[in-house]
């Protein structure tokens, strides 16, 4: 079996990918269009997506995620291969990389300041993130906030596709017809999943870190008004530590990194249902950051 290996430099990580399924190969290529190939012969993660041997190759075909010989997950239906690749790559990063404090959050940037959206699954983080990206914000990451450990309050971009679920897919497609989407994977354990590719402008700036300034915990509630309320830094700190993958591994370094971001950020809870209003408010918040001395509190 001769599978060609492709490589991508995805933010700080060099990834080698091979697959014997042409469709998945094309899908990954379209996800990471504009990402540089890796020139050196060293890869942080060697990944392959392989068809299992035996009947499940043909009968209700499946696909395996293989990380350097290890199969950390059960196989999924072959049609979910792209989603499996994205989830698998998240697993590789969160389980091996301790260069950063890694937090389950979306990160986007405008005016040089980043907005962190930490939230449990289903809170509407990815939808808000995608909507803001379509409104011109730069995408750093939809899933993983990589906070630099040197205490410099600096967040490293990944610019990987935004993973949207169920109704969010059509909402974003309608709101922004020019956005590029991968094929929808139906029937995953999260329902339908589709990935919105990062805009070329975000991919171009993949080496540029962003400074954390705003932390907003979004919550989509059907028919709710757009409500922004201030949140204490202490509870923000605790919630972010809870959403972190390696806070417990990093010890005091992780504590200091998180502290440097939280102390320098304005923190809010945010309920929304109307995306246009949400975009407007977030944009206003970010503009406010440019005007020194003006507290964002006045917006509420």
């Amino acid at each position: 079996m001769n599978i060609p290996t492709k490589s991508y430099q995805i933010g700080p990580f060099s990834v080698a990918v091979s697959t014997d399924v042409a469709e998945i190969d094309r899908g990954i290529e379209s996800f990471y269009q504009g990402f540089k190939p890796v020139n050196a012969k060293f890869f942080d993660f060697h990944i392959s997506l392989e068809q299992p041997r035996g009947v499940r190759r043909w009968f209700r075909p499946q696909i395996d995620f293989v990380f350097d010989g290890i199969r950390p997950f059960k196989p999924l239906p072959r049609t979910q291969g792209l989603a499996l690749f994205e989830w698998g790559l998240n697993w590789c990063i969160t389980n091996h990389c301790h260069e950063y404090l890694t937090i389950h959050a979306a990160v986007i940037e405008r005016n040089g300041f980043s907005l962190i959206l930490p939230a449990p699954p289903g809170a509407g983080k990815s939808t808000l993130c995608a909507a803001l990206v379509c409104a011109g914000w730069r995408l750093l990451s939809d899933e993983l906030a990589l906070i630099n450990l040197e205490g410099a309050n600096c967040i490293a971009p990944l610019a990987r596709p935004v993973c949207l679920k169920n109704e969010s897919i059509s909402i974003i497609k309608q709101a922004s017809p020019s956005s590029r989407f991968g094929k929808t994977c139906t029937g995953t354990n999260k329902g339908d999943v589709a990935h919105m590719m990062a805009p070329a402008s975000s991919v171009e700036l993949i080496d540029e870190c962003a400074v954390g300034r705003l932390i907003v915990f979004p919550r989509y509630i059907a028919n709710s008004k757009t409500i922004l309320t201030r949140r204490s830094k202490a509870t923000t700190f605790f919630e972010m530590a809870r959403q972190s993958f390696n806070f417990h591994v990093l010890g005091s370094k992780g504590f200091e990194a998180l502290e440097s971001v939280v102390t320098r950020s304005d923190c809010y809870d945010f309920e929304y249902s109307n995306l246009d209003e949400a975009i407007e408010l977030m944009t206003e918040l970010s503009d406010q950051q440019l005007v020194s001395g003006v507290s964002t509190e006045e917006l509420i």
Binding site: K41, F42, D68, P72, W91, H96, H98, N189, V249, L250
Partner: protein, 384 residues
């Protein structure tokens, strides 16, 4: 052997290897080291020799990440061990740490940066029930809850059913011997416990003597049928040998001690592989005498050396093929015969073979969550 030559070269002679390895070779070393849980170990090895800055940054960061995990792990183990020792000392007893926990808490530089999965302690058999009770009262819970497993451990094994802390999930094995009660080889725990070395000022935590620690490590590796971390365990042995104190260490004393404890056979293999894989200076005379006292015989030792050299390879696709898997399978079967006489082993294996079927029938209808670590990780990853 070819595919692992770079990894061995780096471990054997880091000073010359570190500048000559190509980036592609580093790539393979990182992958093999990750597979056997030695990333942090390599960081430590190169760091103490002031070589870590000469490693290409691409590879260095992986070793550093491994070190981050290992250091944190060691910190937590130390806290955990102290709390266990405090509980046990309230009974007027002490604990003797085995394997990973012993290396970690005695600050043995030979084996720093190493990861291990559980804490192993040795206590006197007479104190077993009290120790178990005091731990249970303080949050440690028994695992393997079926009557069969509980009985199996308590009646035949050298340890209690593994315990787990209810909140912190740390795993703890409480041994009263280093080999099962039913094993062909018997090692007298009294003999081991009479030579222990204190590692804290309060005299509540001990470790085995240098020789015994080495021999236990060898017994574990060469009697046991698990080779997932075999390469790492072998490297432990070579590190312990390299760190020997020449003033008091004597090869013949080691061999005599092995004979007393009934561990001459694993001792021979430990010396053999340390010499031929890691170039530890062990003379022909010592090796020959080790073979002689082991009563292995030339033929049997040659076959086993072959099987071990296949099995000790890291379980990485670059250096493990179907042949290695076959050798591991044979040694796995051998380990069971060493562990138990046939009249006990056969019913046990039959029971274990039929059990999954029985459980499957039982579980039908009621959804039990018996998720292992990997399933948990899987769910974690999917919840992203």
């Amino acid at each position: 052997m070819k595919e692992i030559s770079c990894f061995l070269w780096l471990l054997r002679s880091p000073l010359s290897a570190v500048d000559l390895l190509s980036l592609q070779q580093w790539d393979l070393i990182v992958r093999q080291a990750r597979c056997v849980g030695m990333l942090g170990r390599i960081y430590h090895l190169l760091d103490t020799k002031k070589l870590i800055d000469r490693v290409p940054s691409e590879a260095r960061k992986h070793f550093r990440w491994g070190d981050t995990v290992a250091s944190r792990h060691a910190e937590l183990v130390r806290v955990e061990v102290e709390s266990i020792a405090d509980l046990v000392s309230s009974l007027g007893e002490s604990i003797t740490l085995l394997k990973g926990a012993a290396y970690c808490c005695s600050d043995n530089p030979a084996v720093k940066g190493r990861l291990f999965t559980d804490i192993d302690i040795l206590v006197e058999k007479g104190a077993l029930a009290d120790v178990e009770r005091v731990l249970e009262l303080n949050g440690w819970l028994s695992t393997h809850l079926s009557d069969y497993d509980q009985n199996y451990y308590r009646r035949w094994m050298h340890e209690l059913p593994p315990m787990k802390h209810g909140q912190r999930q740390t795993e703890l094995d409480i041994h009263h011997a280093i080999l099962p009660e039913t094993a062909r080889v018997k090692t007298d725990s009294k003999e081991l416990l009479s030579n222990v070395v204190a590692i804290n000022a309060k005299n509540t935590i001990f470790r085995l003597s240098d020789e015994d620690m080495l021999l236990h490590s060898a017994a574990h590796l060469f009697f046991d049928g698990e080779f997932k971390h075999g390469f790492r365990d072998l490297e432990d042995i070579r590190s312990l040998l390299e760190a020997r104190n020449p003033d008091i260490f004597h090869w013949d004393l080691l061999l005599d001690r092995a004979l007393t404890l009934g561990l001459s056979e694993p001792c021979y293999f430990a010396l053999y592989f340390s010499r031929y894989w890691f170039e530890v200076e062990i003379s022909d005379r010592v090796l020959n005498r080790a073979l002689e006292v082991s009563s292995l015989g030339v033929c049997r030792s040659a076959v086993l050396v072959r099987l071990f050299s296949q099995s000790l390879m890291p379980l990485h696709p670059s250096c493990s093929s179907i042949r290695n898997a076959f050798a591991r399978q044979l040694l796995y079967i051998r380990s069971h015969f060493l562990k138990m006489p046939v009249h006990l082993l056969v019913p046990h294996l039959v029971y274990k073979a039929v059990l999954p079927l029985l459980e499957k029938i039982q579980r039908k209808g009621k959804q039990g969550s018996r998720g292992g670590m990997i399933q948990m990780l899987e769910e974690d990853a999917k919840s992203l």
